[in-house]
Symmetry: C2
Subunit: 492 residues, 2 copies
């Protein structure tokens, strides 16, 4: 078990590592935090949840950021039906095998039994590609770059709020291209968009790479993914982008006349991320006190808590707080003044810490007199006293940026601390016997080998990273020579 | 048949009235326009449509405007499950009677028959109020002001793109309040938000008023609505807001402890508008050439069409067009340069007229030399030659505002021209025998009377307008004295 040598363990990260080390169960913590921070609630429908306003506001911020990126890369939003004729699913052999067992089926409508049952979309390749076949005739109709924001349903046995629910919200991109190269580039480009979303907005470092055959999307030629490490050392697949080759184009007859007048099948991609990202933010950053939200997606970036005893103090302090809130609002800071009268400051501190608000401003009578505030950082717990009010918007703006960056760096260090190298299977099992870690290793095993490893250790190949050293080594499982290095981990 | 005296018929409106007068069938025109302008396409699922990128962009602009208004009035977005246990629907007697016949039913999930079938939500009062009962305990938890953007399914027999489809997109607001007065105010406030959306954004004048018992939402105490007139004289219900009283609070047990410590049932509202609004814009403004879009919601506000013959002209003209596009973009004008090389200017004119783009800029070599452009207005067909390029952003901004206002005024005049007064039922039938009109009349008939009138004339009471003269008169149907004036019309 070799810790990567290039990592410096800071005091903070060391204690984090300990807190989330072997044997610590994050599962209970996760559910409690999601419920107590009012991100979601259980629904009276099997495997479904209710996304509460605070959780939905977080999702909206993620969605808005991604929607801009999707449009900036030339895609257009559209909307396709929720219901898919059962026969459509069967047109792509691998696809139906993968999804049919998870489908919810509508058998009756308007009081009558349907002639052909509909499945509630588990993903929309089939119905969208049926339409693409209608829309694509000539090379001039390509590329077709479509995205859809929608709900999908996959009947899951073991569900967990946000991470795995029967119904979830997502976007699904579907594209058709004239050439293989262009489709391949598209699949890679959208994975890069997902990497940017995860790293720049969610402050979650991700590995980018390809899935092995065993973990591939049903119907894809290649599946690319971003994989993040959670605070318990487990991996979370945070987004996937598929190069579909001509599989669906052949199944649905998407043909176009190329510039030489010949008919060809289109080359395709599909790609998606979901409300699972909300779970990723919770599990990727949270601590014992609750959520820690990256400023760029936090529904509330700054909360102001007034502190007073007498009625006179209350008037002075509240008036000052309102001015502060107004100043910050004018600078487009998402600020909230907690002026609830029936609660103590201490209660409010806990309330907003649980909800992960990045910055808290405490304002008492002395602060008002000295024209200063006290700043409390949620991510480090650090307090900065006596910050001048006359420059507050500038200070806050800078601090929000610093927190965003620092959260990313902390998560990156945490991942490095919990990524280990295994030279052989004994070492591999030894590491995973101690807890959840990413394991970097040479691996040239096949799907059956992966199955056996999963059975014995619960770990799977998360990805074959794009970044490969290309130095030869020995497969940790088969002992054969190989240059392929992969990341194994237990995952959500 | 008395035309309202306060209306001046302009040349334009007179010809419009003729175009859409008796006997003219707008149905075929509507469908052709929606398909040809690429707003939507038929889906291979009964009663469903595909919203194509242009139609979806229009919906997104409507949605974004409304979402801001909903948030500005203190509401928060959330998300509730797509599936509703069948037993939930049955808890409110009128509600189940109204919606059960329209439901799509999921009977199987994950390969097994479900113990209790789920209906796909036709509207979410039942599941949302089930959750509200969990969340509301004290008066401090009220008001609860929730909105959801979602898809809903109602099994419709006769469908029409956007106007009536089995699946549609909408927002549904659901609120709970401590007092009857507060809930009543909320229902009225949201109707006012809808009026603003319709009039200020869609440029569609609407009547605001109450529905008769016959047209009331299943489970509501009172239903308020906005009603717009389409270009064929038919009415379109464009949005509804319901005062639910305590009906659902009693059915689902939403009880709170009031400030005196007693348990009370909450008072509630629900309100919604849908993708039907896209259809309203098409039918409320379009002409023989296709769509006419109000600038504030048009996906493209300005299209630039370069006109050239030689390669040298092409270079000069295109370069100038790019500069113009950049200038307008910097002023946040949604501008598109149509630089397609394989199409003639004439083809492009038709293309963008069909799609209703408010302003077209034509730029030829002479315009470039004189540093001017030609402006063509979609709503009036008017052309303004020789507009100086050096002030173009200012000109365009002013013109977009003027078009928005002018479209609203034109629609308002059209409605006045096609609204008539009926003193008795003979006159009423006479008017409707000539075509589709709004009929203003005294009416104190009951639901059975309304049913007979509908059978004989296909017209229904669209609303009892809030604006009442409060002068007494005689019911046009029963002949009895009444002060209640209503609007009758045939409707979508």
């Amino acid at each position: 078990m070799t810790t990567q040598p290039d990592i410096l363990i800071s005091q903070d990260e060391a204690s984090d590592a300990q807190e989330t080390g072997p044997g610590v169960d994050k599962s209970r913590w996760y559910t409690d935090t999601v419920i107590n921070a009012e991100l979601a609630d259980y629904a009276p429908v099997k495997g479904c949840m209710v996304i509460k306003p605070y959780g939905y506001a977080l999702w909206e911020n993620i969605k808005d950021a991604l929607d801009r990126m999707i449009k900036d890369t030339g895609h257009q939003n559209a909307y396709f039906p929720l219901f898919i004729p059962e026969s459509f699913l069967k047109k792509e052999a691998e696809h139906v095998e993968g999804f049919a067992p998870e489908c919810a089926v509508v058998t009756h409508g308007g009081g009558k039994k349907l002639e052909e049952p509909y499945v509630v979309r588990p993903t929309s390749e089939t119905i969208i590609n049926y339409m693409f076949a209608k829309w694509v005739q000539s090379w001039r109709d390509l590329p077709l770059l479509i995205n859809q924001w929608a709900n999908v349903v996959r009947w899951e046995m073991r569900t967990r709020l946000f991470l795995r629910t029967a119904e979830f919200l997502w976007q699904e991109g579907h594209t058709a291209h004239a050439t293989e190269i262009e489709a391949e580039e598209e699949a890679r480009k959208m994975l890069e968009v997902y990497r940017q979303l995860a790293e720049d907005w969610l402050a979650l470092p991700v590995l980018t790479g390809e899935k092995t055959e065993r973990e591939r999307f049903a119907g894809a030629v290649r599946t690319y993914c971003i994989e993040a490490m959670m605070k318990d050392g487990k991996a979370l697949q945070a987004g996937t982008s598929h190069f579909l080759g001509q599989n669906f184009a052949k199944a649905f007859g998407i043909e176009f006349q190329n510039q030489s007048g010949q008919l060809e099948h289109a080359w395709q991609t599909s790609w998606g991320v979901s409300t699972r990202l909300v779970g990723a933010v919770v599990l990727g950053h949270g601590d014992d006190k609750g959520l820690i939200l990256p400023p760029k997606i936090a529904p509330t970036q700054v909360v102001i808590v007034p502190i007073y005893k007498t009625d006179q103090e209350k008037d002075t302090v509240l008036q000052n707080c309102r001015t502060l809130a107004q100043t910050l609002k004018e600078q487009n800071v998402r600020v909230h003044l907690d002026d609830r009268d029936n609660l103590t400051p201490g209660y409010k501190f806990n309330h907003w810490e649980l909800r992960g608000v990045p910055i808290r401003l405490n304002v008492g009578p002395r602060d008002v007199a000295s024209k200063v505030v006290e700043i409390a950082r949620r991510d480090t717990g650090e307090k900065i006293r006596g910050v001048a009010q006359n420059n507050i918007a500038f200070e806050i703006e800078g601090l929000l940026g610093a927190i965003q960056k620092s959260m990313f760096e902390r998560a990156k260090n945490f991942r490095s601390d919990n990524t280990h190298e295994a030279r052989d299977y004994a070492e591999f099992k030894d590491i995973l016997g101690k807890g959840n870690y990413f394991i970097q290793c040479y691996f040239d095993g096949n799907s059956e080998d992966e199955g056996r490893i999963k059975e014995e250790t619960k770990a799977t190949v998360r990805c074959i990273p794009f970044a490969q050293a290309n130095t030869p080594g020995k497969c940790m499982y088969t002992g054969r020579d190989t240059a392929r290095r992969v990341i194994f981990a237990r995952s959500y």
